[in-house]
């Protein structure tokens, strides 16, 4: 066990390069799936190890559920017992569980409320709301996923651009992008080092829908214009992050990507490019993370098994 139990807590750092490079160099669909999978595995391993560290850390607290044989010096020597780290793991694990539960609950609540707001309307896939605030989004779940769009947004788009908007939102529903977004959100709460992956996936999911819309409409420029116009007409909305200072926000990057050529679908990039190196780095990090947490869990099981008088 030893140091292995702490590895999965910091191994998410190996995914930072690919989170940064994937959006430019991989097809958005590949990038979304890859980053979500990496984030999911790493978050699970990190939480398992946090749990193991906590079990070890509580050994000396009165009233802990561990068997008496646990306090045997030989057993102690076999586990990385550190009083401070062990005790710190207790609030950390609680924080992870509470934050994840809150995120899940919130996700469900917004979806339920939004569906309830649409209850009086006929059950068509697209719900057009008369509102002077321009917005559009895909609302998953309920009896069927729905596309919600306001008249203010539709009024500023040409017919072809409206088709692009609807294709984009339908792509979100059809590919179930909300599951990817929820997965990376939970992962980011499980381990803060996974936050760059959440940002990256929320961008690549939009790009994925943009590419499907571009295929459906048959013109990349129409989709780019629809996004641009929609963003300019709704620019009153405050920016949620400070990313704008460092680099262009997601909207100009999406438009620029659509004005360029369609991304190539590659199965797996070569090791000898920067993106290949980053992808392999993240894959190796994920594998090591999985092995370390499995190793630690098995070790812990055997120690507990040996220490329990049966």
């Amino acid at each position: 066990m030893g140091v292995f139990v702490f590895l999965p807590l910091v191994l998410p750092l190996t995914a930072w390069p690919i989170a940064r490079l994937a959006e430019q160099h991989l097809h958005p669909r590949t990038a979304t799936r890859l980053l979500t999978a990496v984030a999911g595995v790493m978050a699970t391993c990190s939480t398992v190890c946090l749990g193991l560290v906590m079990v070890v850390g509580t050994a000396q607290l009165p009233g802990n559920p561990l068997p008496d044989g646990w306090s045997d010096p030989e057993v102690r020597a076999a586990v990385p017992y550190d009083e401070v780290v062990g005790k710190a793991a207790i609030p950390a694990l609680c924080a992870v569980l509470v934050a994840s539960a809150r995120a899940l609950w919130r996700h469900g609540r917004v979806r339920r409320r939004a569906h309830r707001a649409l209850a009086g309307l006929p059950g068509t896939e697209v719900a057009v709301l008369p509102d002077d605030v321009p917005y559009a989004y895909a609302l998953p779940g309920g009896r069927r996923g729905r596309v919600v769009v306001t008249t203010a947004l539709l009024d500023c788009l040409e017919p072809a651009e409206r088709r692009a908007l609807f294709s984009h939102e339908r792509a979100h529903l059809a590919a179930r992008h909300h599951r990817f977004l929820l997965a990376v959100q939970l992962a980011a709460r499980a381990n803060p080092f996974l936050r760059p992956l959440r940002t990256a996936v929320s961008y690549t999911a939009e790009r994925w829908a943009d590419e499907i819309a571009a295929q459906a409409v048959g013109s990349r420029r129409t989709v780019a214009q629809a996004i641009g116009k929609a963003a300019l007409v709704s620019r009153g909305t405050p920016v949620s992050s400070l990313a704008g200072f460092a680099m262009p926000g997601p909207v100009p990057r999406r438009v620029a990507a659509l004005l360029g050529p369609a991304p190539a679908v590659r199965s797996w990039p070569s090791v000898f490019t920067s993106v290949g190196l980053a992808a392999w780095g993240a894959a190796a990090g994920t594998a090591v993370s999985a092995m370390s947490s499995a190793n630690s869990a098995v070790t812990m099981f055997f120690i507990l098994y040996a220490a329990t008088p049966l």
Partner: protein, 128 residues
């Protein structure tokens, strides 16, 4: 327990839609009693009043005092009511981007200039 509460809340939304559509069938302002009759008398008079008051708060109906009671006039249709409710859902959620994948997100300080540049450039290319 929660499921029961959910169902009754959804029921409220449906009742609001029902009352609003009944009111929209009236020629001119109608009283709560008229609405109750129109709905077949399934709802108690006080329930109808409660729902009308809730619709008033949402701006979906207006009312006027005539004699000792109120007459009610629809101010919006079902879509308008849905729009109002949706705005409330969205405004109440500070981090709604986390749940709903919006078509566009907000623009940063330099993004607007950048975006206009990109679109202007592409239009020029498209006309060639």
């Amino acid at each position: 327990m929660t499921e029961h509460r959910q169902r009754s809340r959804r029921g409220q939304g449906e009742l609001e839609a029902l009352v609003l559509s009944a009111l929209r069938e009236a020629e001119g302002p109608a009283t709560a009693g008229w609405v109750q009759e129109r709905l077949g008398g399934d709802l108690a008079y006080t329930t109808v009043i409660t729902i009308l008051t809730r619709l008033l708060a949402k701006g979906a109906v207006t009312r006027e005092r005539v004699g000792r009671s109120f007459v009610w006039t629809p101010a919006s249709d079902q879509a308008g009511l849905a729009a109002h409710k949706m705005r409330k859902v969205l405004d109440g959620e500070s981090d709604r981007e986390a749940v709903l994948a919006s078509f566009v997100t907000g623009l940063g300080p330099d993004d607007e200039r950048l975006l206009r540049g990109l679109l202007g450039h592409s239009r020029g290319q498209g006309e060639d």
